[in-house]
């Protein structure tokens, strides 16, 4: 065996898949799941790709599984909503090569728009679900997921949470073993899900659940950890670690690795062996509700919240009555995330805010355009909803309101699910204006390639989607491109396109300020002419972290942050800010 190394949770998941002979991965990026696929892509043996969205990713992984390959698809919790359609029916078809579906939940919403609990999907789709508690388990369970998938003829859900996915802990790695690829055998009764066949497969699904329940009773994935029997904790994943931190050997544990289906007999025996049965699980009472339905008395959400992350201290307080003294520190100004200096989105949101338009927003870095001082967004729901939501808004609010409304969506998000909304705008005729903020990368998740960038996950050249041609092809006649560093051009385009009586698309094109070629071509920081600055604070309205205001000095540029985009100079009516990409005054 090789030595123990400190490994990132998501890297350990990829390592486990690799060791188990996985050869195919298709995913869509989403925090905190993204790195699983990125680490898989670093191996020579796993073909790994970014798909346009999670549904395409999971269906591609299904195809690879049919062809006999061990495969996985990874996504964040809300991504599984997009992929739910294939997931539920893949439960019926089962697999050929082992197939794992990695889903990363985000309790506490560090980087998400909701706090949904993916364990409901395991119950709903009647699929086995594994949940690791540290990086070593990430590796071991990833291997187990592909094996169980083949053994029980089911895609296996692999649940992560942020604190497991994004923490490093020691992992002992092993060698890769690649089982021979399973031969494909045509079997329409299993793989063609039309009613007559699906009825038979539903019977198979229910039988499989019974087999999985029996397996759950004996598998070492579910284990009892001895301790003081006055408190018996049932927990999985990160919640197990918090409980162990809080209680140590002052409690006994039933640590679940297979979180669906549950081992009823094992739980019953464990419950009988302790004075108090406590279910510790973040978010929804998924385990607790099932244990109550077994008729076993237990405590859970009466003691703990359904909201946010747990802490060891909260568990100690609830179960042991232990409280810790904390020091009161005078509060300091908040530090919300901001658009980076030189971000191409900044100017667009400044103009949108200035024109007081209704802005239907979407998911990406540009969601930050909702924050002050830009404050440009009216709504953000989910991937693609900016475009389809704008259509409904325009239809219901009337023509006048429609002409004061736009949608903003990034290039990757547009391909993910914005294009279908645009087709609806054309087909059902609303005079909507859609801004595609094309920064040539998937930004927020940390720079992933997408179908618009001309490169694949493995950095191989690929055909890039021509967004202008695509919009024309679905029937949008008015398509124009503007540079977001030219505020006057952005404003003109917005005024003209919102006034039009037909659908229009403005492609706002400039690459992300953090992309290597952009960084290499950065201009020197702008400079402020002290005497020319009239202290009007106009340059403060763009919300750039590189420029601040001093009562005595006026505008002050932080030369370590400024990338010379010149947007602030375009705001200055007195020509006090010099340098950068332009000095036009609007």
């Amino acid at each position: 065996m090789s030595k123990k190394e400190l490994m990132f949770g998501n890297a350990a998941v990829a390592r486990g898949f690799w060791e188990a002979g996985c050869t195919f991965a298709s995913s869509y990026p989403g925090t905190p799941s993204t790195e699983v696929t990125e680490f898989a892509a670093e191996t020579a043996e796993i073909y790994a790709e970014w798909a346009p969205n999670e549904k395409v990713a999971l269906e591609s992984a299904f195809g690879a599984s049919l062809a006999g390959a061990r495969s996985f698809a990874a996504m964040k919790h809300v991504g599984l909503n997009v992929a739910a359609d294939p997931l539920f029916t893949m439960s019926y078809t089962g697999v050929n090569g082992g197939l794992a579906v990695v889903v990363a939940d985000d309790p506490g919403m560090h980087s998400s728009q909701n706090e949904q609990d993916s364990r409901h999907y395991a119950m709903g789709a009647k699929l086995p679900m594994l949940e690791p508690a540290d990086a070593a388990e990430c590796r071991a369970y990833a291997m187990a997921a592909l094996e169980l998938s083949e053994r029980f003829d089911a895609p296996v859900l692999f649940r992560l949470t942020t604190r497991v996915a994004h923490s490093r802990s020691p992992v002992e790695t092993g060698e890769r073993t690649e089982p021979p690829r399973r031969a494909y055998q045509k079997d329409p009764g299993k793989y063609v899900m039309m009613p007559a066949n699906a009825r038979g497969r539903h019977v198979a699904v229910e039988a499989r659940t019974e087999a999985l329940k029996a397996f759950a009773e004996t598998t070492p994935l579910n284990r009892v950890v001895p301790g003081d029997r006055r408190i018996g904790v049932v927990a999985a994943g990160i919640a197990y670690q918090y409980a162990r931190e809080a209680l140590g050997d002052r409690a006994a544990y039933l640590k679940l690795g297979l979180v669906n289906p549950l081992p009823e007999k094992k739980i019953r025996e464990f419950a009988a062996s302790v004075d108090r049965l406590v279910i510790v699980e973040e978010l929804d009472p998924v385990i607790e509700t099932q244990i109550r339905a077994m008729g076993i008395p237990c405590e859970g959400k009466a003691l703990f919240s359904r909201i946010g992350e747990y802490t060891a201290r909260a568990i100690a307080a609830a179960l042991l009555g232990e409280t810790a003294e904390t020091v009161a520190v005078p509060p300091v100004p908040g530090r919300p995330p901001v658009l980076c200096p030189g971000c191409p989105h900044r100017g667009v949101f400044y103009v949108l805010s200035k024109l007081k338009l209704f802005v239907s927003g979407d998911i990406g870095c540009y969601t930050l355009g909702a924050l002050p001082p830009l404050g440009a967004l009216d709504t953000t729901l989910c991937m693609g909803a900016s475009v389809s939501g704008l259509h409904g808004w325009c239809k219901a609010a009337g023509d006048e309101a429609a002409k004061r409304s736009v949608a903003v969506i990034g290039d990757s998000t547009f391909i993910h699910s914005g294009i279908t909304g645009l087709i609806n705008i054309v087909y059902n005729g609303s005079p909507a204006t859609v801004l595609i903020l094309d920064n040539s990368i998937t930004g927020m998740t940390g720079h992933q390639q997408n179908p618009c960038t001309g490169l694949t996950l493995k950095n191989a050249p690929a055909p890039a989607v021509d967004l202008t041609a695509l919009c024309h092809a679905v029937g949008v006649r008015r398509v124009r491109t503007v540079d977001p560093f030219d505020l006057a051009a952005v404003e003109t385009a917005l005024r003209e396109e919102t006034a039009a009586d037909e659908p229009s698309v403005i492609i706002v094109k400039r690459p992300c300020a953090l992309l290597k070629p952009v960084v290499a071509q950065r201009k020197p920081p702008v400079t402020v002419e002290r005497d020319a600055c009239r202290r009007c604070r106009a340059c403060m309205r763009i919300g750039c972290p590189a420029i601040s205001f001093d009562r005595e000095k006026g505008a002050v540029v932080d030369t370590t942050l400024c990338v010379g985009c010149g947007l602030c100079g375009q705001m200055c009516a007195f020509g006090a800010i010099r340098g950068g990409s332009g000095t036009r005054v609007i």
């Binding site: 802990s169 520190v329 300091v332 995330p337 927020m444 972290p545």
Partner: protein, 191 residues
């Protein structure tokens, strides 16, 4: 050393992740169980960021709670005050004197506190102030400020200079070795 809890706080983009990786490498090489918890995604865009590093015989939770940190390394002055409540009584804060205005300060909605040092002193906190950017520039590049800070912190964590150097070298690309070695040594010597 049975258990050590370290907090690294700062502003997204300041290089806190590299510092946490070096610490993780250092404790792993020392034969300890280690958990390092980072947050990626939205907060990396110039927001307040916090990384937990825990080392000991058997580390369960990857998180550190209020009053639980032996050492806090703050990459930015105001952030030191924000997270001061995490410090254990008797712990040490290593504070970079760099100031980065948060957006509410930039827009004029809030004022950057001018008395962070006095506030921390008033709370009875042992704080060591470091001009890590200057030290890094002296070493060759402002980008190595994170490693200079870590050098200062290493004095309060313990261990030999050699062991620390090994950990630094294991985590930085070959072409930046000399720069980071220098920055670490400067930070360690002056703290």
């Amino acid at each position: 050393m049975t258990e050590l809890n370290l907090l690294i706080v700062g502003v997204g983009g300041q290089g806190t992740v590299l510092a946490s990786r070096i610490l993780g490498e250092y404790f792993t090489a020392a034969g300890l169980d280690v958990k390092v918890s980072e947050v990626h995604g939205m907060s990396q865009r110039g927001g307040s960021v916090i990384t937990f590093v825990r080392a000991g015989r058997d580390v369960a939770s990857p998180l550190i709670e209020a009053g639980g940190a032996d050492v806090i390394i703050s990459f930015e002055l105001l952030e030191a005050q924000r997270y001061a409540g995490y410090l254990k009584p008797g712990g040490t804060m290593i504070v970079n004197t760099q100031q980065i205005d948060p957006m509410p300060v930039v827009t004029g909605a809030a004022v950057y506190p001018d008395n962070v040092r006095e506030t921390l002193a008033g709370l009875g906190i042992h704080a060591v102030y470091v001009d890590a950017t200057a030290e890094a520039v002296e070493a060759g590049s402002a980008k190595a400020a994170n490693v200079a800070l870590l050098g200062a912190a290493s004095r309060f964590i313990g261990g030999s200079a050699e062991a620390w150097e090994q950990a630094v070298l294991a985590c930085v690309p070959a072409r930046f070795r000399e720069l980071n070695q220098k920055a670490f040594a400067l930070g360690r010597a002056r703290a």
